[in-house]
Symmetry: C2
Subunit: 346 residues, 2 copies
Amino acid sequence: MDNITIFDVAKKAGVSKSTVSRVINNKKNVNEKTRQKILQVIDELDFQPSNSARSLVTKKTRNIGLILPDLGDCFFAKFTKGAEEICRSNNYNLLMISSYWDVKAEQDRIDILHNNRMDGLLLVSGSSISRSYINQLENKNLPIVVIDRLLPNTKIPTVNPDNFHGAYTGLKHLIKLGHEKISCVQGPGDLYSVQERIRGYRTAVTEKNPHFNPQKYIFQGQFDRESGYKAARKIIKTRPRSTAVFFTNDRMAVGGMEAFKEANIKIPEDISILGCDDLDYVSLLSPPLTTLEQPREKMGQKGISILMDIIENSRENKKQKKEKDWSFKFEMKLKIRGSTGPVPSR
Amino acid sequence: MDNITIFDVAKKAGVSKSTVSRVINNKKNVNEKTRQKILQVIDELDFQPSNSARSLVTKKTRNIGLILPDLGDCFFAKFTKGAEEICRSNNYNLLMISSYWDVKAEQDRIDILHNNRMDGLLLVSGSSISRSYINQLENKNLPIVVIDRLLPNTKIPTVNPDNFHGAYTGLKHLIKLGHEKISCVQGPGDLYSVQERIRGYRTAVTEKNPHFNPQKYIFQGQFDRESGYKAARKIIKTRPRSTAVFFTNDRMAVGGMEAFKEANIKIPEDISILGCDDLDYVSLLSPPLTTLEQPREKMGQKGISILMDIIENSRENKKQKKEKDWSFKFEMKLKIRGSTGPVPSR
DNA sequence: AATTATCGTGGGAGCGCTCCCACAACTCCT
DNA sequence: AGGAGTTGTGGGAGCGCTCCCACGATAATT
């Protein structure tokens, strides 16, 4: 069946395997006529060079690994999509694997993929990354790009949304609507993205109003719906109650909205809600959620592009190894929808 | 760096590469002491056998390809997740690729993966599959399992939800609530799943009421939100208006709900809505959507399990090649939520 | 005209493994 | 005691490719 090898092509075309190899690898020093002839034979025989044999000698597999916390999660699916697109157009394969939010599992997965001789890894980490972990990654001698995390003092490229400016912009919108007592529900505090969003919040709310103490208005959440609901319950009990809440992700915002509805607090008449992420469906809620869009698909694309650059680059000129500082930020766009409105006139 | 080969292990352990090979492949006829010694050396050297070299001789890559219409779509992400789980636990890698709902692209992708020497393919097809296409698949000499499509007269295993009984059950629920004039919004008519759901609808609504003419109550949709909205607009104009609508997927149901809300028709007081699929978020809508759950994650798992069976089986005994009829149906569970209620008392 | 560079090509080694066969050393029957 | 099995081991071929080197034929340079 699939036994047509470079040899069969060579024989049928009346040349040596070396010449065929030159043709399939687009090398020069091949007579144009010979090239055409070989191309024709390749087509006739439907010849496909064996990846295994190729990789065995070149040490390149043209496989990229993608690790993310949960393949089934809509939030991550967008990264996946963007990543796959770029891989496909560069003739790379994309291999995916879930880490289930577990640092240990994540490291296992990295090893698995490394052992499977991936050419590079795109890591969407489910947790904060420790210094020792970073070192480990750096020592693997394997191109890695990390999405949605900040890695201080490292040459590992990262791709992030501009969480600070995003949050800042969102908060400015609320402030412009007249809100002053704005609460904030934060996610897991060890996450870089959360820290930046909180910083954006703090900066915006204290800018014109230095007497405002954000500390009193920050509530703890865990990025899931349940914790958003609970935080909202707390906010409801707090006096004086806020007129707006910034949830540091959409999932919590959804939980929060449920709590407010339950308590018969009208959105946005009594309270404005600002989310973050722009999940697929939040525009379908009632009211549709105002939120900050994270360009996840583009981030996935960018991650792979960087990886390609590194791989191709190290292939070309191993000597110079110009380790650029590759660290990208993507703008978060404010999507104004129905969940935010003017501050209630008391 | 990664240059430790089976030879290095052999040398350090004082045996031949053959013996090491036997150990890493769990073959018998190896002295227990030698095995232990080799295992220890493997560990010390952190030796990982090269997949490329292995595949080159065994013709097996331990890679499975997954083709689906859109990696970024929540609906499909669940299949992905289930598939990856089983692959992982069997030490197979999962390679994913989007076909973007295009039959031509789908076939291209199949070729790509075939050429990349996948051991098997899981295909979540974005469209109906023609006879010639099926023949093509069968001739590829490549284990393939198809999800969410019926392939008549073929040995290609399929995994499907039980669309007929699902729809039937859902409709029975509406009927029990007193509804008689129940409309139905169908999706692309060439899809097997749609045909079955419609069949379930027809069976249920005519069972006790032979005078009911379902044909007048079936509206065309395209599985997207927009077409659900449009279909609902038509239903609103129709006299006498239905008291319940079965949308053959959730996306259309969402669009429909928007149209009804806009027209000030209350759900479920004035009209009951039944969806199909149970997308992640439909329980968050107002009111939460009653729908039929499709166990997509389990279907993904099952698909891969079948694939594993076929692969392992053809590996073991090529002679008998017992082509079982592998065709699985999964129950669709009715999720009763807020969008369905008793028929309005006029 | 003699030397050197360039082009087009073939041959061979080697990538790291698996798998078949050979062979020695035992054990076990009759 | 002698043939037949069993167990443990090593050696060699070969999987399908790439890449280096050699070599003849032209073309360009002095």
